[in-house]
């Protein structure tokens, strides 16, 4: 028995030594790789590090982190469908640099930890040229240090001003969306100047993006000397808004600003209208989304929303994509799908301009893109934050989001 133990101990020790030496050689390789990658981040980039260059043959891989399971899996469904459409479209028209593209999807699980793990898994694959982050400012902020570490072009779908700030200081992260700073101010301007309303309630989800939007509404109102009469927060997943609506009723306001996601938006609207509260609601982008409108039904009528996208867009590229999405999947095309289409298209454009799949070169090429017409809006990537230049104020009429104002703004700083 003692002899067996001795043999086992020796075998385990040899195994440990072998794995330790293997790790050391990988570390040495990584060190040398990251060193040359660091050198390559100088504005005048030197020759590409071959260990970070994707294979010269085979498809060009683009990573996508999205929420496939968990609370926000709605986003993942739209994103996966859109990824298939854009992949097929690009490949059927000859691909990029003569090669097909392949979208590699990882599940961000709807949490910031999940987003970071998914991102790191994709970034570790040397064949992946660029990555699209999930549709959440929280997630994009969470991955930002990993983006800096991995040195791979990453596009963020979030719209928060905090993300804009981070993107502007991270050369590898691009916020391909109009910042909420621009959009929320535009909606407040519309409510005060064009609708002539004077007193408001703000009702918002306490999760980061919605809470940020509520703050932006408050700041924008302050420029008109208006303080919200009541601010009513609620936690994600709230079903019964009786207490919240009671507070709004007591405040006796002209209008309501609201910021939350689809399900809560639809429930809130239904419960407001069921209580015969016909106040105009000025909502974040979820309020103009087909999912919310479908759930809320007639309760969504005469709701205003500031958004980047509507399925019945007048943008020809967007309209074509929207029609294709509906034809293939039966549902109206939501913002989450249109965003993926634009993000991947922009990355392909950057690869074409770079003429190579070298990560540094692709990143540098992205930064030269100005005035790119996407399905949603025009993009200006010459600075990293607030790259989407346009937005829409829509009014829901007969359950159809109707554009009442098109926005085009200078980049927020």
């Amino acid at each position: 028995m003692k002899k067996v133990k001795r043999i086992l101990a020796t075998a385990l020790s040899i195994a440990m030594l072998l794995s330790a030496s293997a790790c050391a050689s990988v570390d040495a390789k990584s060190t040398s790789t990251s060193t040359s990658a660091a050198a390559a981040t100088e504005p005048a980039a030197s020759a590409a590090d071959t260990t970070k260059t994707a294979s010269a043959s085979g498809p060009i891989k683009i990573g996508l982190t999205t929420v496939l399971t968990g609370d926000r899996s709605l986003e993942g469904e739209y994103a996966s469908n859109a990824a298939k459409i854009v992949q097929d479209e690009v490949n059927s028209s000859g691909g990029v640099l003569g090669r097909n593209i392949e979208i590699v999807i990882e599940d961000a699980l709807g949490t910031d930890v999940g987003a970071v793990n998914a991102y790191r898994k994709l970034a570790a694959d040397k064949d992946i040229v660029a990555i699209v982050g999930s549709d959440s400012s929280n997630d994009n902020i969470a991955i930002s240090s990993s983006v800096q570490e991995a040195k791979i072009l990453t596009t963020g779908q979030g719209s928060s001003p905090k993300l804009m700030e981070i993107a502007n200081s991270n050369p590898w992260l691009f916020q391909l969306r109009a910042s909420d700073q621009t959009l929320c101010a535009a909606l407040v301007k519309y409510a005060v100047e064009e609708k002539g309303l004077k007193t408001f309630a703000i009702v918002h989800d306490t999760e980061t993006a919605s809470a940020d939007q509520a703050r932006l509404f408050t700041e924008a109102l302050a420029t008109y000397g208006i303080t919200p009469s009541v601010v009513v927060p609620f936690t994600s997943g709230t079903k019964d808004f009786s207490s919240h609506i009671a507070q709004i009723q007591n405040a006796d306001v002209d209008g309501i600003f609201a910021a939350c996601f689809h399900t809560e938006a639809a429930i809130l609207l239904q419960q407001l209208r069921a209580l015969d509260i016909e106040l105009p609601v000025f909502g974040s982008n979820a309020f103009g989304d087909p999912v919310t409108i479908g759930l809320a039904g007639d309760a969504s009528n005469n709701v205003y929303s500031v958004t980047a996208w509507v399925p019945n867009t007048t943008n020809p590229k967007g309209a074509a994509f929207s029609a294709k999405y509906t034809e293939l999947y039966g549902d109206a095309c939501a913002k989450s799908a249109a965003q993926i289409y634009d993000h991947i298209s922009l990355i392909c454009e950057a690869i074409k301009i770079a003429g190579t799949t070298d990560r540094q070169a692709v990143r540098d090429a992205m930064a030269t893109i100005d005035n790119y017409q996407g399905a949603i809006t025009t993009y200006d990537c010459t600075t990293n934050g607030d790259c989407g230049r346009g937005g829409l104020i829509v009014q829901v009429i007969d359950q159809v989001p109707t554009i009442v104002k098109e926005l085009y703004s200078e980049k927020a700083k």
């Binding site: 709605l74 986003e75 469904e77 207490s243 429930i267 209580l275």
Partner: protein
Amino acid sequence: MNLQLLISGTTMGIVYGLIAMGMVLIFRSVGVMNFAQGEFLMVGGYFCYTFNQILHLPILVSLLLASLLMGVVGVVFMRTSYWPLRKAQTKAIIVSAMGASIALKEGARLTWGAIPVSVDKVIKGTAKIGTATVQWQYLSIIGISVVLMIFVYILLEKSFIGHIMQATAQDQYMASLVGIPVIVSIGLTFALSAIITGIGGGLLAPLFFLSNTMGAASGAKAFAAIVIGGFGSVPGAIVGGLIVGLVESFGGAYISTTYQLVLIYIVLVIVLMFRPQGIFGERIQEKA
């Protein structure tokens, strides 16, 4: 305003009470808390959606068919998640239920997709009660839930099957010695639990919409209802559910809308401090 809050609080409380009642039935039967109970609510709702929106059947027929299917789900759940582990430690059964909860959640997403859906209301429109405007669906939920609770009471207290289920819940070994088929009895309990919770899902769907993650929050509040009402007590589960619903409603309006769940758990802690066995629970003390 107070009447409005009372009605909405009562409606939500009754639904939590239904879920809690389902959990108590299983707890009394096998001595383990079922952490997949919230998912029964969700699956029942989705079955109702399938019959009502995809097959275009009337809502009451859809609720009935969904409840029959939920009975089957309850039995399958019992056979797969509890029965193989019935002689194992309690924690193994709890973990198994948690695993089943995840499987049900993701299975629902794969089957019905991630986009929230709804079903028809039992009665459309609103009613005026004093100064309050109430959706008829809220009143339908209260009415149907009360009928269900009476049915469960009659079943358990007045019927032969109910006596068998109660006997099995009290002592499985003795029940088997007197010829009661224990596996059938436990299966019936799980089926009943799944049915009453599943019907709750179908009733809630037009108000709060169906998504595969809707079960978790409801399950947490139902658990609080059980603790407040007293572990193992069916009337306790109902009263506990009402307390949770009313605290949520009035607490949100008068104290804080952000911390409604915190308020519920503060009430839970206070109840535990002064009456650890819950309102209807029996105090069990060990003799020295």
